[in-house]
Symmetry: D2
Subunit: 343 residues, 4 copies
Amino acid sequence: MIKVGIIGGTGYTGIELLRLLHNHTKVEVIAISSRSEAGKRVDEIFPSLVGSCDLIFSLPDDIILNECDVIFFATPYGVAMKGVGAFVKKGIKVIDLGADFRLNDKDEYKKWYGLDHTQDELLLLAIYGLCEINREKIKNANLIANPGCYPTTVALGLKPLIDNKLIDLTNIIADCKSGVSGAGRGANKATLLCEVSESFKAYGVSGHRHYSEIKQELSLLAGENVNLTFVPHLVPMIRGMQATIYVDLLDSDVDVQSIFESAYKDEYFITVLGAGNTPDTRNVRGSNFCQIGVQKAPYGNKLIVMSVIDNLVKGASGQAIQNMNILFGLDENLGLKQIGLIP
Amino acid sequence: MIKVGIIGGTGYTGIELLRLLHNHTKVEVIAISSRSEAGKRVDEIFPSLVGSCDLIFSLPDDIILNECDVIFFATPYGVAMKGVGAFVKKGIKVIDLGADFRLNDKDEYKKWYGLDHTQDELLLLAIYGLCEINREKIKNANLIANPGCYPTTVALGLKPLIDNKLIDLTNIIADCKSGVSGAGRGANKATLLCEVSESFKAYGVSGHRHYSEIKQELSLLAGENVNLTFVPHLVPMIRGMQATIYVDLLDSDVDVQSIFESAYKDEYFITVLGAGNTPDTRNVRGSNFCQIGVQKAPYGNKLIVMSVIDNLVKGASGQAIQNMNILFGLDENLGLKQIGLIP
Amino acid sequence: MIKVGIIGGTGYTGIELLRLLHNHTKVEVIAISSRSEAGKRVDEIFPSLVGSCDLIFSLPDDIILNECDVIFFATPYGVAMKGVGAFVKKGIKVIDLGADFRLNDKDEYKKWYGLDHTQDELLLLAIYGLCEINREKIKNANLIANPGCYPTTVALGLKPLIDNKLIDLTNIIADCKSGVSGAGRGANKATLLCEVSESFKAYGVSGHRHYSEIKQELSLLAGENVNLTFVPHLVPMIRGMQATIYVDLLDSDVDVQSIFESAYKDEYFITVLGAGNTPDTRNVRGSNFCQIGVQKAPYGNKLIVMSVIDNLVKGASGQAIQNMNILFGLDENLGLKQIGLIP
Amino acid sequence: MIKVGIIGGTGYTGIELLRLLHNHTKVEVIAISSRSEAGKRVDEIFPSLVGSCDLIFSLPDDIILNECDVIFFATPYGVAMKGVGAFVKKGIKVIDLGADFRLNDKDEYKKWYGLDHTQDELLLLAIYGLCEINREKIKNANLIANPGCYPTTVALGLKPLIDNKLIDLTNIIADCKSGVSGAGRGANKATLLCEVSESFKAYGVSGHRHYSEIKQELSLLAGENVNLTFVPHLVPMIRGMQATIYVDLLDSDVDVQSIFESAYKDEYFITVLGAGNTPDTRNVRGSNFCQIGVQKAPYGNKLIVMSVIDNLVKGASGQAIQNMNILFGLDENLGLKQIGLIP
């Protein structure tokens, strides 16, 4: 059994790791930490676990974490930057669900997160864990930067188009929509049910942290600088994310449907829907799948790509486990075969 | 008192007319028809009206309708086309909340609605009732085609830009989002709570009826042919609509915020939010306001316009009453001053 | 025009007062205070008001409040206890939406709210403002304790039965359900959308502050001590409250339907539904109505009373305005005739 | 591998069987029927299955069903009554998720379902599949009547009290609340999002089909006739059910918490929450668990039992699979260990 530790277990990505790993036959979670809840039973904070989990929150510096084979950091940005090094030195694999090792450019990190990045070596070491793009590099990684939810959704929606040089890279629009769980479990007036239920709005229009990450990954895919317009919106639901992406096809006669189907035919978690079908976020609720539909606009050479994931699974904890499976040479979908919770 | 009749009163636009007219001090609803519910008390179908409404559904050919000063058709497309003429001939004003008189081109009507348009004269007579655009024409109209919800939201968001010739008319994207009430009150598996709650999806991507109406109105505003890409989405909420519109500014130095504020400074129902603010559909819930925020994209010359309305009010019944107020020389906001229901 | 002041205007009852008073033709809100937001425009905090309200939050000790004819305290418990006296002395009417003057027994207040009640004289002066019960006393009051939402719902559901001595007063169960807005607008993990949406639970089962208030009012109605079992539950919706009340009829042949209809036939805001109908909270959404349905259980002598209100209107700000109307000799329903927002 | 067939696979219990069986390591679904969708791919109706399920809907009389070891009927009442016999004769185990074999008394069946029960022998044969009550009988059953959701919730909440003769059997109230998925996937105006979202109501107050089933099972547990008052309510959420049960303790000093803990200490799926805790339906969302909290009322000898399940899992398809596991001598929780989907 692979021994797993989780640092920062009281947020939504923490409980989601516990939920998904509970179905995984090759791992055992031996430690989970929380500075604020140390000493309490985990099932006291998350009663869904009563009867299924006997863990007690430890402090993040508890020595039991040194016995782990892999540690997930499910912490706010800034925490992993300081804490990851000690584990990596001991040969413990680390998967960081936060943002500390996603951006290659320290200035961008400073710009968006307001912190100086102090870990040059670790940053060089870190592999961006978008499995369908970086699978080979992930296999031998020691530190994985688990991607953000928006970057995952957008990059998977554009990869076949960029790989095949089918689109104008100067006029990309990603109109994205997220469920509220993306905002986390902190007490916050802005995400009270009474503030966000039965409503819809854009946010972060003047600049959102994931912009830089998306731009970086698209540019790496393209081998050249890519710009885009990115507007995130908040949807009155708990889970789910959709990117509606508008691009200009260089050749409007190309069979985009076939190109997507071919590009992803061997990817277990990527589902290209049949021609004319549009994805629905609920179909991936609680699952690690990404469903994609493509549609040429009725007029002009616009192509519309619709890509959906569960922001807490493929957009966070599920992809983290997928990365773990790759790291340890397991079947990539082990423990992750659940299908969406419908209805 | 202005005597009002409503044809087709069992849908959401029908009950919304009743709700709003209940607050209007210069009108009296004297008749409301429903083929299926004729003879039943209206408050039996809509118990929110118990104690506030003593009407009984009549048949649509009840002669009492001839005593009305104005008749609202809150019927599916096709019904008003046949029924409007008789009232117009008698000098009764008609406001059609359906689609029968919105499209000037009969071929477009046939294409999107599948019916031959048989009323050439009425079509010529009809005024498109987007009040902030056609106010002068509305004053003397006999037949008003009340606009669709998406066209209202998009046209109000683009009017100042088109009027001032600020944007590239060949690269407009309208990514629109609607609450579920836009789909109506018919029994339909696709809009069951269990099918659409906690989910998000695009629909009508290959072609939506409102596309033609939006294109027509934008082209009339521009004085030239305008194309656009239009993708509607379904949001898991009852009311509310947002258009997120992406355009290319011809001159990226222009002060768009001032232009919007100036354009709408005398419009009671159009609220231009302060610089940097984004609208939230809940702020217009149950009200006839349209709130608009504009934001330049952080990179490039893209401008993002966010326009929100309540699809059942400014997008349907509220605008219909605004049209009635204009028609009868009343204050345009009479009976329509309610602010949004928050929270 | 009656000059109105609001102390504590940033919560849900504050914005609801502003929304409702905006429709009231005989009042003008001249001041609204907020310690935390003093100096900011009200429509900055509540953008639904942009274009409809030019007020700026003042400090709660701003002298402009002394010019008011009536002041609403929309503050947490404890605040009104200290602040009300100064206004009452000046002859300004005060309506407290909080709990400070609802309980006649200071020990009960201490027990449930943890504070010593320091205002004996004011407490004696205060009238419990459940309009349909205490209308006569309210007319001449100087200080009104606006009732809690649960007590309003339960007391209105039981009044005809207690007045007519029809039930066993020792076996009453009130199984109550509330929308989330009852928990207020404070940043609180427990009322995040992701914590309460798509879920249902009981809370406060071992004791809830409204228990004592309900018991007091039922006992006053009965002229003897009444006990009850009261379990509140949280419903995943913004507004709305239902009490499902189970009582034992002393005489199972009594025509309960007629008794309810007769008891409330002159009450504008109380709607007794026809035999066999059950109320639905949405039918009173945003309105000051209380809808009641009664049904004998299929077996035994149990009677089931279902009473619904909008917790923010009849359960708070609407009833406060109804009290104001009575105080100032206005029509009781002035500004409060809106019907429920359907759908 | 156990070969499984499903009759009637287009409803919510059908897709839920597919979702849960997808995680089950000892079964293979070899056939799924639908009269209306025969010939179509199952993943066309339920896109959550794309990539995970290659089945095609067959007709309900397809001979492949004869190759099954067990057949689930996920059909409306009346269908299984006619169809079950042929399979039972062939020695194929049948689990009926509908109501046809739940009521022992044919007159009660006729009264509530309006049909004559024509299958006396099968009715005698059928075992009521509430696993925690009838486990021993289920082991050798040929036909299992899978319980209704309300009866499951209420019976599990009362079993320890009835077994230990702790309560007055003449004064039981079950105030129950259900998510909307209990109403099924049929096109129905009453369960449109716009009709039930953001609202709460009681329904079936004058009589509900599950009343008779609850009464039967409680009476069998008690060994004597039990009556109760049962009021179901509709909660604006997809999944989840709570019964809040009010009973009178015969001895108010009894340690009810210990009795519940002891009664269910060996039951994998029944979780008795710690003293003072109340269950939350989301904690069992998508899982087969039942969580129970008990609380003495602050006054009197009332006991409040709160029992929650996911109506589609423990209340339908999950319990059906639990029954299958028992029937085939498998671990009772095989394929059913998932924990609730939080958030």
